[in-house]
């Protein structure tokens, strides 16, 4: 049995790189340090995979050779007038570079999953900018951590223990101790009140102010965790303070906080149901911290207002920098969606929704973004890699995708691959193939290969390179 250390987990934007993997008979048999999601990937990858390329003939997907699949794919792309190449967020940067070259060669649209996730964040960043950092800065310095519209406990399980409140830094201790203290305090209070009830023979009620901040906040030296969300998530349960906002009201709350931070008066008593007193306390908390961080997720990007919500959040944090050190970071989902944005940007100047049909890169989300193009029925072929749009896109968009010739490159069987005309089973990046990926804070890491892939499962980079070669051959001849 082989033991491989410092393996990087290819699941979420946390890109934890301290994983230990045990390999036996070319199979991962055990892992250490992963969260439940990482563990599931390492131990269960490829269980449902069909390790041979497929081509649809007479309505049915039939096994084919790699060469046939490459040829058919190249034919589809060269015959198409306006193909889309979509996905990219769960593959390596090396593959993305080839993908961009291919999209440019066929004059198509290339887009990644930001288009349905943090695209609005990117649009707002292009308007406002973004005061941000790498995650280590937070481990060392952040004493106020806010997760807004994001639930790391479920989506980035090790985030809090590796990078924020439960991590140990040079200037800030872990908040783990105070969390245990508070937990014990709650238990003691529960027991004491139960005893009191037995003695007094009646139920005790404690008037609880729904929105009040805990009294210890101002005096507490240790790290504080604040969660803002529409429901009490698992993360909210371990937070020092949870602020419940009504759905689709984040924009007003963020702008109200901005006003307070800029020393403006709020002429109302409450904003979106939250008393102004609470917002004032929250603003005080933000101003008086040493270094604060606001993480935000799809709760902001995909609720009413979308990019305006992110605009308000970015502007709030920017304004806070007049008073203290405050940073903001989007919680990126896929392990290399950041890499997709990064590679797209350095090669084309634009982070997603890039159109090559005029021979140079054009960027106009809404016009050049994939979901919109599909809904308008404007494209006539598709290549989907490392993502599953049939599951995730609006039905009208998915329909256009499957009504036209579709090439799918994916290690797994997915609803998208089941509707495809050509399917390439690829190797899992980070397990069966090497590659570079970018963490949510833009730190690049090299994912390792720990086992050999099955014979017909090539790395994405190689599949795309072969398709590109064949496309060029067809064009020349």
């Amino acid at each position: 049995m082989r033991k491989i250390e410092n393996v990087i987990c290819p699941v979420c934007g946390s890109l934890c790189d301290d994983i230990t993997v045990y390999v036996e008979d070319n199979r991962v048999v055990e892992v250490e340090n992963t969260c439940a999601v990482g563990r599931a990937k390492f131990l269960n990858y490829g269980l449902h995979r069909k390790p041979k390329p497929l081509i649809r003939k007479n309505g049915e997907l039939k096994e084919a050779s790699i060469e046939e699949a490459v040829r058919r794919s190249a034919e589809i792309l060269t015959e198409s007038k306006y193909p889309i190449l979509y996905g990219w967020s769960s593959t390596s940067c090396e593959a993305i570079r080839v993908g961009l070259e291919l999209a440019e060669e066929v004059g198509g649209i290339i887009d990644n999953t930001s288009t349905v996730c943090h695209g609005p964040s990117i649009l707002s960043i292009q308007d406002v900018g973004i005061p941000s950092c790498t995650l280590g800065q937070l481990r060392h310095r952040a004493d106020l951590v806010i997760y807004w519209g994001s639930d790391p406990y479920s989506a980035h399980p090790r985030h809090i223990e590796r990078y924020t409140v439960f991590s140990e830094g040079r200037f800030q201790k872990s908040g783990w101790r105070s969390f245990i203290r508070r937990l014990s305090g709650k238990l003691v209070k529960k027991r004491l009140s139960r005893v009191a009830e037995l003695i007094l023979r009646r139920k005790l009620t404690f008037p609880e102010e729904k929105y009040a901040l805990p009294p210890y906040f101002i005096s507490e030296e240790e790290r504080k965790l604040v969660v803002v969300d529409v429901r009490k998530t698992r993360t909210a349960e371990v937070a020092d303070y949870f602020l419940q906002v009504k759905p689709n009201t984040d924009y007003e709350v963020l702008q109200a906080l901005r006003m307070l931070v800029n020393d403006q008066d709020l002429e109302v008593d409450e904003v979106a149901g939250i008393p102004v007193k609470t917002l004032e306390d929250l603003a005080d908390l933000m101003i008086s911290c040493d270094l604060g961080i606001l993480f935000f997720g799809v709760g902001l990007t995909m609720s009413k207002g979308k990019l305006r919500n992110v605009d308000a959040a970015l502007s709030l944090v920017r304004d806070l920098n007049k008073r203290t050190k405050f940073l903001i970071m989007p919680m990126r989902g896929h392990y290399n969606v950041t890499g997709a944005n990064v590679v797209f940007t350095w090669q084309t100047g634009y982070p997603y929704a890039v159109d090559f049909s005029l021979g140079y890169p054009r960027y106009n989300p809404g016009e050049t973004s994939v979901v919109d193009i599909l809904r308008r029925g404007e494209c006539d072929a598709g290549l989907v890699i490392a993502s599953d749009p049939v599951s995730n896109f609006p039905a009208s968009a998915a329909k256009t995708l499957v009504d036209n010739p579709l090439i799918v490159i994916d290690p797994d069987v997915t609803p998208t691959s089941m509707m495809a005309d050509v399917v390439f089973p690829s190797a899992y990046i980070g397990i069966e193939a090497e590659g570079t990926a970018y963490r949510m804070d833009h730190v690049p890491l090299r994912l390792k290969k720990v086992v050999e892939p099955p014979p017909n499962c090539l790395p994405d980079q190689e599949i795309l390179a072969r398709i590109l070669r064949e496309v060029r051959r067809i064009r020349r001849g």
Binding site: E5, N6, I8, D17, D18, C93, R97, E101, E104, I122, I125, Q126, D127, V128, G129, I130, P131, S132, C133, T134, L135, G136, Q137, R139, H140, R141, R162, Y163, E168, R170, F171, D290, L291, R318, N321, T324, K325, L327, N341, V342, V343, T345, W346, Q347, T348, G349, Y350, P351, F356, G359, Y360, P361, Y363, T436, Y438, H442, V443, P444, L445, R446
Partner: protein
């Protein structure tokens, strides 16, 4: 491929050749004195200038900071596009071009070597990935070390040799070329939103001063025998009155120089040559700086010349970039890198109407014209901070022609025009001096032995410009020279013709230079550092270094160190 470049007017300052009509012979990617091959291509360079390929000591072209700038400025890209051709990839310009466009545009100007000056070590892989997608030119990059925790701690404790060993490791791990220092101490202070006031203001929590950091790294540089000197972006950059900090910075390593060799490079000095107390009482400090440089041999610098245009500022100087955001109200990106450094990006427009910008424009040229020795001051615009690199020919025009300067001056802010020193400076650069400022001087300062000259054994990186120095006077017909330098008649890289008449005709991959230090003691990192590594960074020690696989063509430069 063998070449015979015939009858050109050759400017090769490293070999003392000043416009002599002579032939240049190229074979096997090198300059030779005799062609072995019977078949060779002849380039008729009659009536043309032949120079070594351009060398740029400081230009932000790759890495996380640059890419954040690209992301921030879709409006900048939309106005300047490059179509795909049979041999070139498509792309976008203007102030922060995409990577392919960057390589092509440098080659079109006859440049063949470019140094990327700001690489956060933790994100080094990103810099190298982008450099690999930057075609044609040879490149290198400098890791930011002036605020690295290990540097701060070792220098605070006076452990110069330990520091040197770890710097050597860092150059190896990041495939870097030189020690870059930006606002030393200030970037660590910016971790909590602060800055340092001058070179004796101690860094919060670390109890070490910028003076100690600069001196310490200067000593480290000498111990390691690195090809370039420490490359310094001074404290207080962009602040009125900062010329004094710059003088102090240069003075603080005066005693560390040996003989005539420089031991410090002050980069984009224009931004560090402000005299006065605020934006109204604002003057040029170039004269004071030039006076110092003229009497001391240990300093080299580059201009950081302002161009009147809409551009993008990007530096590792987080606190300064924040100030720029407050000043302009423009959108602002900040990216602090744990344990190491920071960065900031803010779009910026230099306006002729502005008194301050007009003086800034004067400062860069005053530095170049008042510093007598052309081997000490080089042509840059700190691309893209003071202007895009595609403006270099314009700067050449200002250097060679007083008339060109007067023409621009006539359109500037009146108060600046009437009070600045520049209008009274007569000096005009000769083409020999231009060759030093854009090629030979930069290559020599960088310690690149095969670059910046046309002597036998040098790399066959050659630029040929279609303007006849015997017929067309630079002083009066400067626009002919600006045109010629914008569009090389021929650019030759490693003996291959890559540009003809300003168009890319062949694409190849350039080399990435980096320094490999062989030391007397093991510079393997100690167990103690490995343990502290996981405490300091959020990545594992094994996942930190950049393997040579990230460099398409790796060119290690071997140096022998004293530790």
């Amino acid at each position: 491929m063998a070449l015979l470049i015939r009858n050109g007017y050759v400017y090769d300052p490293m070999n003392g050749i000043d416009g002599e009509k002579m032939d240049i012979l190229v074979e096997g990617g090198k300059i030779v004195d005799k062609l072995k091959s019977a078949e060779y291509e002849v380039i008729d360079a009659s009536g043309m200038i032949v120079m070594p390929g351009g060398v740029d000591i400081h230009s932000h072209i790759a890495g996380s900071e640059v890419n954040a700038g690209r992301l921030l400025r879709p409006e900048d890209h939309a106005k300047d596009v490059e179509l795909k051709t049979e041999i070139t990839r498509s792309g976008v310009g203007y102030s922060v071009p995409s990577t392919f466009t960057t390589g092509y545009r440098y080659a079109k100007m006859g440049y063949t070597t470019v140094m990327n000056p700001s690489m956060p070590p933790l994100e080094a892989k990103h810099t190298h990935e982008e450099l690999c997608d930057t075609p044609i030119i040879d490149k290198a990059t400098y890791p930011l070390l002036g605020d690295w925790w290990f540097v701060l701690e070792y220098l605070r404790d006076g452990k110069i040799e330990e520091c040197a060993l770890h710097v050597a490791w860092m150059l190896y791990a990041t495939k870097g070329y030189a020690i870059k220092i930006v606002n030393p101490g200030g970037l660590e202070a910016w971790g909590f939103g602060r800055n340092v006031r001058d070179i004796d203001d101690p860094v919060p929590y670390f109890n070490v001063t910028p003076r100690e950091i600069i001196r310490g790294l200067c000593k480290v540089n000498k111990l390691l025998h690195l090809p370039h000197t420490i490359h310094v972006h001074t404290n207080n950059l962009g602040k009125p009155g900062n010329y004094e900090t710059t003088l102090q910075t240069m003075k603080c390593v005066e005693d560390l120089s040996s003989g005539d060799k420089p031991c410090i490079h002050i980069t984009h000095c224009q931004f560090s040559a402000f005299k006065g107390v605020d934006w109204r009482e604002f003057y040029s400090g170039a004269e004071d700086i030039a006076k110092y440089v003229n009497f001391h041999k240990h300093v080299t610098m580059d201009m950081g010349q302002v161009i009147f245009t809409d551009t993008t500022t990007m530096t590792a100087d987080g606190p300064f970039q924040y100030i720029l955001h407050e000043l302009t109200g423009n959108k602002w990106v900040n990216h602090d890198v744990e344990t190491e450094t920071s960065s900031g990006i803010v779009p910026f427009r230099y306006r002729r109407r502005s008194y301050v910008h007009s003086i800034q424009w004067c400062i860069g040229l005053e530095l170049a014209l008042l510093i007598r020795n052309p081997w000490r001051i080089f042509l840059t615009t700190d691309h893209p901070n003071a202007g895009p690199f595609t403006s270099y020919p314009q700067v050449i025009g200002w250097l060679i022609s007083r008339k060109a300067r007067e023409e621009t001056l006539s359109k500037l802010n009146k108060r600046a025009r009437e009070t600045a020193l520049l209008p009274s400076i007569d000096r005009e650069y000769s083409l020999y001096e231009v060759a030093i400022a854009t090629r030979a001087g930069q290559a020599r300062a960088l310690g690149l032995k095969d670059k910046g000259h046309l002597g036998v054994g040098g790399d066959a990186d050659i630029a040929i410009y279609d303007v006849d120095p015997r017929k067309i006077g630079p002083s009066t017909q400067y626009d002919e020279y600006v045109k010629a330098f914008s569009k090389a008649a021929y650019t030759i890289k490693e003996g291959e013709i890559v540009v003809r008449n300003g168009e890319v005709v062949k694409v190849l991959d350039g080399k990435t230079y980096w320094v490999k230090v062989s030391s007397n003691s093991e510079y393997e990192v100690s167990e103690d550092m490995k343990r502290r590594f996981t405490e300091y960074w959020t990545v594992q020690f094994d996942n930190y270094p950049v393997s040579e696989a990230y460099l398409k063509r790796s060119k290690p430069v071997q140096v022998e160190s004293e530790v």
